[in-house]
Chain length 428, copies 2
């Protein structure tokens, strides 16, 4: 047995408490697996008095996470506070400057400052690891950086926001409208303080940007992610999609194309019979496609105390075993700046709109599509009341640019009674 | 850049040729990811002249894999010959004695000699890695030994023989009997030279024994795996199961119970709507359950050139990065000898038999079940011709011992017209 690996934990919310429990309950197991004891020496959080269901009396307490990060008796700084900037970033920088390794679950911080932090850590001979930041307990960062290291990655896809998947599957299963299920999720405490992070797709986009970096050896480019949330998805969309054998998911896709790196986080139709289509509730799924390995699907809990703490411990135990893979799989200074590809690869699209019930209305829409070079696979006009008619169109493969051009020209026809909704149909 | 990592590859079948292709085509990518060049210096196979679709002229040729394993210009001995004993074992031992690390895809060798080989390697300060031996391209060994290292594993399950899954799903989809689909698989080249390895469950049992070792920190105990093949599964079983919402899979389960370690590889009924139930054709799936992470499902190609070579490269690149996890996740000398639990954990069972069409026949079977303490959930007698009647029973949870005792007493009733088939219904 060598010297113990000493952890300083900043942030004692659900995940922090979960990490404390694992380290306390599994001391023998962890030592047997890594060949050295893993211990906690110091902790930090906003309130010292809160009952977290774990005994913290053996650990030194620091009110200031920066002070914790600098302590001589800490080897690994475990950052579980969250927030892109502020104390999390300051303490991470302090830890690196003091020669500590860092394990974090902070997707926002790494999506925005990951390059700078990884370069600083690697210049100091330290590592920053972040398995817990993406898809909770699913070991996707390790799968990409280590298991698939012999592959050129062709595509990475994922359903990585459990709240959105809960809302979408609940709408479908209960036949409830978005607003009602959103409120329900809110009552259940599933939503972030700023719900836009969830339903606006931002949280999931942070994760996608990190995945794209490790998949393609490129600098994290969160700003280049095309983001669309689930706020405009209606129960009608979900039912129409189901009727055609699809389900709607908030799906992230990162794909290197001849035109550059595409990163999009948006609602997509996927076949109901595919692994992604079958995903229910808060579960996450990541699909990795490599040129040799083919398609690998990983499924598990994307959040929660146990799964996220398990992922944090995976990184901690790697460090205990002296597994020191660079943050993004290769040295940060060797990551390339990917050219962002604005226009997505061609795909079929689902289009829903309501037309004024006038003779020739549907023909005008079909003509506008044809003039934009978008060809129609299926078109349905539904039975209707009043003076408007709901219309559903599935296109053949087209680019988003061509589709947007068609949608803009719909306006000039004068037959639109509502803004069209366009949803990509992703081949999975 | 440090010195190159030099590979000696023994065995140039599909997988060996796949590894050569990756090393040749991806030299820059591999060096960027690991920080050092990865090169092949020498190869060995049975026939030097065979066209393998790769240029081998740059590499030294050895007719004898033992000679290859000892070469001074080899750092990692890549064993892709197969076979539990013979040249594969001799060359692996020679490599270890000569101070080489070993990467192998040889499940049979490790299932039988893994403990001895791992102890020898670790005594010499070397590693044996075997990601490619279990479930092809699915990174399950790394997931268990590294990603889930903070968990007590509760259960490991897997569909890990693509040929069996092909046969079972093909029977169901085409409504064909076992013998016909077996012959079809044979024609397609899906079966091992000795098909019992596949359809008898032995190949999959080798894999399960390796998974159990890394999951529970126990010595590989292949002899303790309860093995039952798919040879007795009929199209009627598959159709009856489907009718009740189940599918039949050759499922491996390793589970640590109060009575010891259960390891079984046998046909099981699983819910048709579960990830395992939805698995079609040659794809593999492994389900890992940890006390913190919950359930993680991994799905991918279980065989074939690309996926298996990808897994071999994962181990090679770990060594290039100086990731040196012991063969079974912790030092081989610290693995415990698990007590094998002969009787499986209770489960519901599916029972199918044919009875002579006499008054009271069904009652006699029901009585025998009751006397053995097996309670019946559902029982059906199917429409029939001639003088026998097919009967289907689903029991409540019971032990295999109680069920076997009931089945033995069926014989004394004199109403059996065929041997009963009993299939476990696994909760997934």
């Amino acid at each position: 047995m060598t010297d113990p690996l000493r952890l300083g934990i900043a942030g004692l919310g659900t995940v922090g408490a979960g990490v404390v429990k694992i380290v306390r309950q599994k001391a023998n197991l962890l030592a047997a697996r890594t060949g050295r004891p893993v211990v906690i020496t110091a902790v930090s959080a906003r309130s010292r008095d809160k009952d977290r269901g774990v005994n913290l009396s053996q650990y030194a307490w620091e009110d200031d996470p920066v002070a914790l990060a600098k302590r001589d008796d800490v080897d690994v700084f475990v950052e579980l506070m969250g927030g892109a900037d502020g104390p999390a970033k300051a303490a991470t920088q302090a830890a690196i400057a003091a020669g500590k390794d860092v394990v974090t679950a902070n997707k926002a911080m790494l999506a925005i400052h990951g390059q700078e932090l990884a370069e600083a850590a690697e210049a100091a001979g330290r590592v920053i690891r972040f398995e817990a930041a993406v898809a909770g307990g699913i070991p996707v960062i390790k799968a990409l950086t280590e298991s698939l290291a012999g592959n050129q990655v062709e595509r990475v896809m994922g359903v990585m926001n459990g709240t959105c998947n809960y809302i979408l599957t609940r709408m479908e299963n209960a036949g409830l409208p978005y607003d009602e299920v959103f409120e329900e999720a809110n009552q259940l405490g599933y939503l972030e303080a700023d719900p836009t992070l969830d339903v606006g797709g931002i949280d999931a986009a942070h994760k996608l940007a990190l995945l794209a970096s490790v998949a393609y050896g490129t600098k994290v480019a969160f700003d280049a992610v095309e983001i669309e949330g689930i706020e405009r998805i209606t129960i009608e969309d979900i039912e129409q999609a189901a009727d055609m054998g699809y389900r709607i998911k908030l799906l992230g896709v990162a794909q290197m194309t001849g035109r550059g790196l595409e990163q999009r986080m948006s609602p997509c139709l996927v076949p109901a019979s595919s692994p992604l289509g079958q995903l229910e509730g808060g579960t996450n799924m990541v699909v990795l496609e490599g040129d040799h390995v083919g398609q690998i699907v990983l499924r598990g809990a994307g959040a929660g105390e146990g799964p996220t703490a398990s992922a944090v411990m995976s990184d901690v135990l790697d460090i205990a075993r002296n597994i020191r893979v660079p943050t993004f799989g290769q040295p940060a200074t060797t990551l390339s700046a990917a050219k962002p590809a604005k226009s997505a690869a061609p795909a079929p699209y689902y289009l829903r709109m309501t037309l004024h019930d006038k003779p020739g209305a549907l023909a005008k829409i079909a003509t506008a599509l044809g003039e934009a070079g978008v060809s129609v696979d299926r078109m349905r006009q539904y039975g209707h009341e009043e003076s408007t008619a709901p219309v559903l169109i599935v296109t053949h493969k087209t680019t988003r640019d061509a589709l947007d051009s068609a949608i803009r020209s719909f306006a000039a026809t004068g037959v639109l009674a509502s803004d069209p909704v366009a949803i990509r149909i992703e081949t999975v």
